[in-house]
Subunit: 182 residues, 3 copies
């Protein structure tokens, strides 16, 4: 399966578990759109573990990318990306959601704004997001709320983007557009 | 991929994580079978969180459905569904399993009864169940036992129903019947 | 989908959640290669729960298999398998990884050795491994480290083996080789 968008596709959601290779896959998809890729990072660096993770991502991406770091105001960050960029990578919606909840933002309102923005964009955009609902029900109520929000956000995005791939062990399963099978 | 059963299909298992859209998908499948859908709810309302979740499901389904609420005696509830109903939705096996374990029922015996019942039903039947085994091993022994039971139940059901779909972000991956690939 | 290797395939990774049926599927794949299957078990028996699990696997497999038990030195165990065996099953990489971490072994070094060994083997080899990254982020730092290692190990293996199948409810989704779709 090619990681290239087809000519009619302009937006994609790349889903997967932790360390599934979803960022690497999404980066390839954005790079295939041209040589001025733009990266919107939603991570907020709280500790050394996170710092190391962000550093690894940066090292892998190389210097070709222009970068915006924005943990909360994602729509504003996307709208401010130069129109000269070839495509946008948002990595990732899971950290953005976590930041929204941490700062008591209204997740439904923020999600609606994002859903309205996507069809208006000039460049292709690729979102990375985590699948977090395939384990045992968490004992912690906040973790359950997070899982619910993440599931709803993934469903909303998946419904409007042109393409959805699910990544496991670095390999993609295409979820949308649907293959015609019996 | 169509959510319609083909003429030879009479039973389906809809698998997915939490908030994956599996109930919505299963409801569409049952509604596509005719205008007298029957809903077998296995939820037991312990707290406000559960009450709200059940209420959201009811609101989405609308008034077209006839409903049985039965947390434990699932086979009896299914056998008592009027033969005039067009299809049956069982939502979900994960709560049923949780209720069985909570009441010290023999899960293997109950599962066997369900497996024997399915081929004898007059109407199409769709089961909703959770995938719970793709996270880290739970520290809690009861959670591990639940995970094992859930995995076995999903495997048993999947082996005998005519169709299995795995839902992620509201989108289906068809697991059964298998497409012929190399 | 056939569980048979095609003539050009010599190595496979079978991924899945807990109790997904991945071992049963992998056993069928190895048995289809001939009547001298060899089993490399990586489990270390600490408690009764594990003892029971291992016993169930042994009972299912029957007496046709020759067996090596090796919790840590996996490459040595694989290299010592008699050349007369028809195919090798390694079950599973998740327990091997857990044992490596428990004994403070260098996971990256051990993984590299394994990756170098695979193309040199005379017989087909099938690895079983768990998907553990699709739940909520674990609160425990060791669990997070384990999840990261497991994800990386699965990605590395998936990149070099000839075939990858993801198992849910006993049913396979083929991840590699990729079907040609739009």
């Amino acid at each position: 399966m090619s990681v290239l968008f087809t000519p009619e596709q302009n937006s994609a959601l790349i889903l997967g578990g932790a360390r599934s290779g979803k960022s690497t896959y999404a980066e390839k998809m954005v790079l295939a759109c041209g040589n001025a890729p733009h990266y919107v990072a939603t991570s907020q660096i709280f500790d050394d573990e996170m710092k190391q993770r962000v550093h690894q991502h940066q090292k892998r991406r190389g210097t070709q990318w222009s970068v915006t770091e924005e943990p909360l105001n994602l729509c504003e960050a996307i709208e401010a990306v130069p129109t000269s960029s070839s495509a946008i990578l948002v990595d990732c919606l899971t950290l953005w959601l976590s930041n929204l909840m941490h700062h008591d933002r209204n997740v439904d309102v923020e999600t609606s704004q994002l859903l309205e923005l996507i069809p208006r964009l000039g460049q292709p955009i690729v979102f990375v997001s985590n699948e977090v609902g395939m384990g045992i029900v968490p004992e912690n109520a906040l973790a359950r709320a997070f899982r619910d929000h993440q599931g709803r956000l993934n469903q909303s995005l998946a419904a409007i983007v042109d393409r959805v791939d699910f990544i496991a062990a670095g390999l993609p399963l295409n979820l949308k557009p649907q293959r015609t099978i019996q």
